[in-house]
């Protein structure tokens, strides 16, 4: 702990105890508490480090003058201190404990009305309840009763905190009583004579809490519904955390109430109830005395509810939990597929296996406006249904695909294939983009299921229709593209796609590339990029072909469209088209194919974008394009077009205004460094390295050659430029890279005088900065200043020895500064304490500087 802080703390405590109204901002107490908490967590005893805190506590507790904010802080602080046994003892000795945690003490003074005080009380209590002594105090002072009362507090925050604290109490009881039973500790416990008492305390608390839970689970009137919800949430939270003996006690206590709830089927409680049942089900082992069957039966009971919306919700919750037994998930799948069955007329669920009554009720429900949310809920659970074992599903997955396709057709107003049983639903589903999006997601998920490949042609046809449809919203289009990619990805044979379909798809994509909505153009461009990345598949002739070739005519189709999109007025589209071009051209780069005239044109255009585009997205994309190009090229040096353009990209990128562009530029520089100075293979531990080989002449000249290459491409200038950048991430990255370069080219043993490779510094401001740093450093070392500026010469181009510069720039120091966050000074505890003090002096002498407010600098 900072000694300066320790010395200030007593004064801060005085200020706080005197009056809390003059705090610089309302979060400072929170920050102070956070700081003290971190100190405790490092294992330091708070009272030993800052004995003044105890005085502060007793001072405040006895004289409840300060505002509720300070009191709440005091309660929390008391909890923090009392959390350790020593601290607890100290608090007990000065009799602060009883005073602070006695609710009637606060009730008498009327402060209990303030929710912040109640929160403080609850959180303090939670913090202190860490050991058996605290539990003893908790029971003795009979604090359980007020805590239970707070469970239904009018303030939601208070009630929720009380909830968590109650859970905490139970968990503490669990851990304490297990210590009691643990053989190794038994002797100590008996010796101390604490064991029996603790166990009594624990069982007392547990039985009282169980009783409370049982009583408040079933709402006796509708106004108690939120309370029941809260209790159910608490219970599910508890059931996940508690271990056998306690879990059984709890479950035994509430099981009857749960059963009552399940039979009652109250809509608002369905979901929390299912959560509780699922938590119980997953935590119970087969050997537990409370049979899993009983919980299972309750789950089945909930799944048999006759309220369509409730039962769908319950089934969805069950599906999401992914941990129920196969019977239940099969049941849930039947429920979730039923609405689809009814709407589309595809018989997914066997009529005999479902409850006729539920089917009728569900059909009725689907005629109303709520059908959209119900259908969407069923569709969003499709991923879980696709991973189910086939024998657990009520129908083959290919039928599910057919139903989803049929639903998507309904959404377009085409219902040639659906049942007449549910006409009312068309009105709500037709044109509903919400259903369309959910159905697209479901279709996407279904592509992963192994047995549905047969429907490929049908899926393609529908998606093409969607892409062609003038009424499709951009978000739906985007999803359609995604589904298309997913299905192409899993498809091994594209021969089922007819020429007509291919032509339609081509037309649709071409049209969407000219769409009036930029979102649609953007998705189209992205699609072209993704398509180029899909792995190859087989065509009708049996030959391996890339899907983009087989479907859309490959690069010859995509590149002109993408080139056109480089001119798009919307920067997102320009950026996406640059990324898509990189994706499309990557295969040819990897193969080292010769550069075409088209690529030359593209690169020229990209260079224009990098230097002229007003939007950062597009410029970032350009640098990433070069990164992709450089990294996919097996030997970049053999690609003259790339080599020719990299220096320009580096110099323009490093001088950009957007920090992300600069960072990407440094990533490109990193790639160049990687190629120039590859990491040496890790030396074999027993290998003997011949002396001459390390600093051999050849080695040295090769190193110099690489360094020369790097300097010529502008890498070093870019790094120097980045180093003095005002954006911290950029400077940090540049510094790290320079350090790497230094490690590679400046062996520690070599003499400082060697020159050889020098780098030109242009007359720009960053170069002056470098010269300045370098100048001061070399000056202090007594060497000659390289910076011409110092001598008043013209600040134009000059050059600097790279190795010399690398050594003279104090990179290590720079790195340590850069790794600290930029607000480390303002966020330090010292600054916080000083702020509190300053604010109090300003407050206590309000007349000294009239009209001058303390303005807290948020930045």
């Amino acid at each position: 702990m900072d000694s300066e802080c320790v010395s200030i703390l007593p004064r801060v405590c005085e200020v706080l105890a005197a009056s809390g109204s003059s705090l610089p901002d309302d979060t400072s107490l929170e920050k102070l508490l956070d700081w003290l908490t971190t100190i405790t967590q490092t294992g330091v005893s708070l009272l030993e480090a800052c004995p003044c805190l105890l005085d502060f506590l007793s001072n405040v507790a006895l004289n409840a003058a300060p505002g509720p904010g300070i009191l709440s802080f005091t309660l929390k602080l008391a909890g923090l201190i009392g959390g350790s046994e020593d601290g607890f003892k100290a608090l007990e000795e000065c009799s602060v404990l009883e005073l602070v945690f006695a609710p009637h003490h606060w009730q008498e003074s009327g402060l209990w009305e303030d929710p912040s005080l109640r929160i403080g009380w609850i959180q303090g209590l939670k913090a202190i309840l860490q050991h058996s002594k605290a539990l003893g105090f908790f029971v003795q002072a009979d604090l359980l009763e007020p805590l239970l009362q707070l469970q239904t507090d009018s303030s939601l925050f208070v009630a929720s905190a009380a909830n968590q604290t109650l859970a905490h109490v139970l968990l503490l009881c669990q851990s304490l009583s297990s210590v009691g039973r643990d053989g190794t500790n038994k002797r100590d416990v008996e010796h101390n004579g604490v064991g029996v008492e603790t166990n009594q305390n624990c069982s007392g608390v547990v039985s009282k809490v169980s009783e409370y839970l049982n009583e408040s689970l079933v709402p006796r009137e509708t106004s108690r519904l939120p309370h029941s919800q809260q209790i159910l949430k608490l219970l599910s939270q508890l059931l996940v955390q508690v271990r056998p003996p306690l879990r059984e006690t709890l479950l035994r206590a509430v099981l009857d109430s749960l059963e009552e709830l399940a039979t009652k089927s109250c809509s608002q409680l369905t979901l929390p109830l299912v959560d509780v049942l699922l938590a119980a089900n997953s935590s119970l082992g087969d050997t537990d005395r409370i049979p899993k069957q009983r919980i299972g039966k309750l789950l089945s009971l909930v799944l048999d509810t006759k309220k369509p919306t409730d039962v769908v919700q319950a089934a969805a919750a069950l599906m999401r939990s992914r941990q129920t037994d196969p019977d239940h998930s099969a049941h849930a799948a039947r429920v979730l597929l039923l609405p689809l069955d009814i709407v589309t007329g595809v018989s997914l669920v066997d009529k005999d296996s479902t409850d006729e009554e539920l089917r009728i009720l569900m059909t009725e429900q689907l005629q109303s406006k709520t059908c959209v949310s119900m259908i969407c809920m069923c569709l969003t659970n499709m991923p879980q249904i696709t991973v189910m074992a086939p024998d657990r599903l009520p129908c083959p997955q290919s039928l599910v695909v057919r139903a989803v396709l049929s639903l998507l057709r309904l959404c377009r107003g085409d219902c040639s294939s659906s049942s007449a049983g549910c006409v009312g639903v068309f009105r709500y589903v037709t044109g509903s983009s919400k259903v369309q999006k959910c159905a697209m997601e479901a279709l996407s998920a279904l592509s992963k299921s192994p047995e549905v490949k047969i429907g490929l042609a049908e899926v393609f046809k529908l998606l093409t229709e969607y892409l062609n449809c003038p009424l499709s919203e951009p978000s739906v289009l985007q999803k359609s593209y995604k589904v298309l990619i997913n299905w192409i990805d899993v498809c091994t044979d594209l021969s089922c796609i007819s020429d007509q379909l291919r032509e339609d798809l081509t037309q649709a994509v071409r049209k969407r590339a000219c769409d009036t909505r930029w979102e649609a153009r953007d998705s189209t461009v992205e699609f072209l990029g993704h398509l180029a990345e899909v792995r190859s598949c087989r065509t009708s002739g049996g030959e391996e072909r890339e899907p983009s070739n087989a479907l859309l005519g490959g690069r010859a189709f995509a590149v002109p469209l993408l080139k056109e999109a480089l001119q798009d007025p919307e920067s997102y589209v320009r950026a996406s088209s640059i990324a898509a071009l990189a994706q499309t051209l990557t295969p040819s780069w990897q193969q080292g194919a010769p550069v075409t005239q088209e690529q030359v044109e593209i690169v020229t255009r990209l260079q224009e974008i990098l230097s002229q585009d007003s939007e950062g997205f597009a410029r970032r994309a350009v640098v990433k394009y070069f990164i992709a190009w450089f990294s996919s090229c097996s030997s970049p040096t053999s690609c003259p077009l790339l080599v020719q353009h990299v220096p320009a990209v580096l110099s323009q990128g490093a001088a950009d205004l957007d920090w992300e562009v600069k960072l990407h530029t440094l990533e490109l520089a990193e790639l160049l460094l990687d190629r120039a100075f590859p990491d040496p293979a890790p030396p074999h531990p027993y290998a003997v390295t011949p002396e001459g080989l390390i600093h051999g002449e050849d080695e040295e000249s090769a190193l110099l050659g690489s360094l020369n290459g790097v300097v010529d491409r502008g890498v070093v200038s870019a790094l120097f430029c980045g180093l003095v950048d005002c954006d911290r991430p950029v400077a940090l990255k540049a510094c790290q890279l320079l350090l790497r370069l230094r490690a590679a080219v400046c062996p520690p043993t070599a003499s400082a005088a060697d020159t050889g490779v020098s780098c030109k510094l242009p007359g720009r401001s960053w170069a002056q900065e470098i010269r300045k740093i370098q100048g001061t450093n070399t000056d202090s070392e007594g060497g000659s200043a390289v910076g011409s500026e110092a001598r008043g010469e013209a600040v134009e181009e000059s050059s600097v020895g790279v190795r010399e510069a690398l050594r003279s720039l104090d990179l290590d120091e720079k790195l340590s500064i850069l790794t600290q966050s930029s607000d480390h000074v303002y966020n330090s505890p010292l600054s916080l304490l000083q702020d509190i003090l300053t604010a109090s002096t300003a407050h206590s002498h309000p007349t000294s500087e009239p009209g001058q407010e303390v303005i807290v600098d948020c930045y």
């Binding site: 107003g413 006409v423 037709t430 009424l471 590339a513 000219c514 009036t516 909505r517 056109e564």
Partner: protein, 658 residues
């Protein structure tokens, strides 16, 4: 009140309303879909069209080689195109007092109604409706007269022959009533009968009703009409739109509380969202131009084209189409573009404010200034020297049977690079294209119809709450091709009254009240007495004088009148039955008090029976019945006159006398 339906076309209505001794024609739309049965009229000699084979029936018995030509399996009439007029036999058109026009598309049959029928009434329309309607008529006449056809085919109309014809010709109805286009002279004469009105202006018709146009939001100057008397209100809604396009927004609130609402002119494309279609239009246009093809847009010379140009104005630069020329070819192109800019007060708020800047309200002015949009009266003349390809051409007529569009179809139809984009919803694009088959040109159908769709209309009706709705029968069932779409029809409670061509509807609406004025001296002589708090009644003897649909009560002239007016008035609840000064009774007999009174008079054995209308009191000892009902009291008492009189007097005690 009666409605005579002269047109079956839901968006080109022509109805006649007889209401309170006035005869009002609501719109006179011209159904031009009949021209689809005719061969196109080429501006330049077309070898293809002239070489089409004539039609001879399969068995060779009917030879109409001269009149009918066959193209790609369909038969077309080779003659000047003819139109299907509104029904003219259903009622005597000379009796029509006024014609109310709702928008320029719904007045194209006007010359057929006002000329040569003995029509002597007035036509009411807003200024833009008149001016743009005139342009459209002028254009139509010009299109027809430019390419005169000597021959006029009539043989095929023979009933016996028509029955044997193939395809749509066989099923065409009332072909004998089809008429060739009117002349410019008839147009001028018809339009001279138009009297201009402004929105919300009230026009009195013979003192009987008041008519008033309201903005309908569909096109420049388009209106809905309110026809109302003192106690009744009929609304006529035709071609309205709630979308934000160029016209003034629709005035909905004034349509509230109508007794009858006649609803016509909903969108013809209920499933095509105009925004989506506009986007589709732009992307197809851009796609074609980028591929080096030309785009042909068959359209009317006014209306949606303003919105298309505005949309393109924004889109041109986005899609890098800055150098592509846009041509607008129509005999009235120039007037249409310029007229649109001067009707500022009829435009939406946004465009109105531009005028004060001052800026032209429509951006097509800038397109013309920068030479991106050029307009020509026809393909002859200047256009041929300026013409550059690839380009975009807007021209009429959307039926593809006449106008400059025929030339471009012949010119560009053979190349798959070119695209024809249909934006007008009035014609089936497949039928329009039939005489051009086989066609290599791409066809895109983006019908843009901004009129109300079913969703909007049901919301609108919920808002304005008319008592009864009358609409074309097409709106009361889902479209034939989409019979499951129950959302594409009107579902109302009570159900709307459907009409079809030639139907005469008795509107379900009885007039109960009429306003009557009372002269001051007569009013002075009245002696009102209060029968209930707030309701005062007086008897009046007067002469009812009716003139110009105004009714006045005047004092009875001093010399004893021959016979008093028999006219009854509903305002006074108890009509004076005779002139004798017998008191008039009013009020109700309270049961409990009456029973108590009976008891006081020694009648104790009373059995009270409740009936639907009141009570029956059975005086068992006297064997007498007293029926107390809301509108009458009966004492049934055989041969016991004293008892009857006593009972009568007891009843009278509870009633008020006037």
């Amino acid at each position: 009140m009666k409605l005579y339906c002269l047109s079956g076309h839901p968006t080109l209505p022509c109805n006649v309303l007889k209401f309170k001794s006035t005869t009002i024609m609501l719109d006179c739309g011209l159904d031009t879909t009949s021209v689809l049965n005719f061969l196109p009229l080429p501006l330049v000699h077309s070898p293809r069209l002239s070489k089409l084979p004539g039609w001879i029936s399969k068995d060779g018995t009917v030879n109409l080689e001269k009149e009918l030509k066959e193209c790609a399996g369909r038969v077309f009439v080779d003659s000047q195109p003819e139109f299907c007029l509104p029904e003219r036999e259903l009622l005597d058109l000379s009796t029509i007092d006024v014609i109310l026009i709702s928008n320029y598309h719904c007045m194209m049959a006007l010359p057929y109604i006002t000329e040569h029928t003995g029509f002597t009434g007035t036509v009411y329309a807003t200024e833009p409706t008149l001016q743009i309607g005139r342009l459209l008529m002028e254009e139509l006449v010009n299109f027809m007269e430019r390419v005169p056809k000597a021959q006029s085919a009539t043989c095929w109309k023979n009933k016996e022959i028509q029955r044997m014809l193939p395809g749509p010709l066989k099923d065409a109805v009332d072909v004998w009533t089809w008429k060739r286009c009117y002349s410019m002279q008839e147009v001028n004469s018809a339009l001279s009968k138009v009297q201009l009105v402004g929105y919300s202006q009230k026009v009195e018709l013979f003192g009987a009703v008041q008519v008033s146009p309201l903005s309908s939001g569909y096109s420049l100057g388009s209106s809905n009409w309110i026809i109302q008397s003192h106690h009744e209100k009929v609304s006529y809604v035709s071609g309205s739109s709630l979308l934000t396009t160029h016209p003034q927004p629709m005035d909905q609130s004034s349509l509230k509380n109508s007794d009858v609402l006649i609803l016509t002119g909903l969108t013809q494309m209920p499933t095509a969202n105009p925004d989506g279609m506009l986007g589709e239009f732009c992307s197809n246009l851009a796609m074609t131009i980028r591929a080096g093809g030309n785009v042909l847009v068959p359209c009317y010379s006014s209306g949606v084209i303003y919105d298309l140009l505005e949309c393109l104005y924004q889109f041109i630069d986005n899609a890098n189409l800055g150098t592509t020329p846009f041509y607008f070819i129509s005999p009235v192109a120039n007037s249409s573009l310029e007229f649109s800019q001067i009707f500022a007060e009829w435009l939406c708020h946004n465009k109105q404010t531009k005028v004060y800047l001052p800026e032209p309200p429509f951006p097509h002015a800038e397109l013309i200034q920068t030479n991106k949009l050029k307009h020509y009266p026809s393909i002859h003349g200047d256009f041929s020297s300026e013409f550059r390809q690839p380009c975009v051409v807007f021209t009429g007529h959307p039926s593809l049977r006449f106008g400059d569009v025929v030339h471009f179809m012949e010119l560009w139809g053979k190349s798959g690079l070119n695209t024809v984009i249909f934006t007008e919803p009035d014609f089936s694009y497949l039928d329009a294209l039939a005489p051009y088959q086989p066609l290599a040109m791409k066809c895109v159908y983006c019908p843009i119809d901004t009129r109300l769709n079913f969703h909007q209309v049901s919301k609108f009706l919920k808002e304005v709450q008319p008592l009864h709705v009358v609409c074309p029968e097409q709106y009361t069932q889902p479209p034939l091709t989409q019979s499951h779409r129950s959302d594409l029809m009107l579902e109302l409670q009570p159900p709307p009254m459907p009409y079809r061509r030639c139907a005469v509807l008795n509107l379900p609406f009885r007039r109960c009240y009429e306003r009557v004025y009372i002269l001051p001296e007569l009013a002075n002589s009245l002696v009102p007495s209060e029968v209930k708090p707030g309701i005062t009644v007086a008897t009046v003897s007067a002469v009812l004088h009716s003139k110009d649909n105004k009714h006045t009560l005047q004092s009875v002239p001093k010399p004893p009148p021959a016979a008093p007016s028999k006219k009854r008035k509903r305002v006074i609840e108890e009509p004076p039955a005779t002139l004798a000064p017998k008191p008039l009774l009013s009020g109700a007999v309270p049961l409990e008090a009456f029973l108590a009174t009976l008891q006081k008079h020694g009648i104790t054995e009373v059995k009270v029976e409740e009936t639907g209308e009141g009570h029956i009191l059975h005086l068992q000892a006297e064997d007498t019945l007293i029926q107390l009902e809301e509108d009458g009291t009966h004492i049934v008492c055989d041969n016991n006159e004293p008892l009857r009189t006593t009972l009568r007097d007891l009843v009278l005690r509870f009633l008020q006398k006037l």
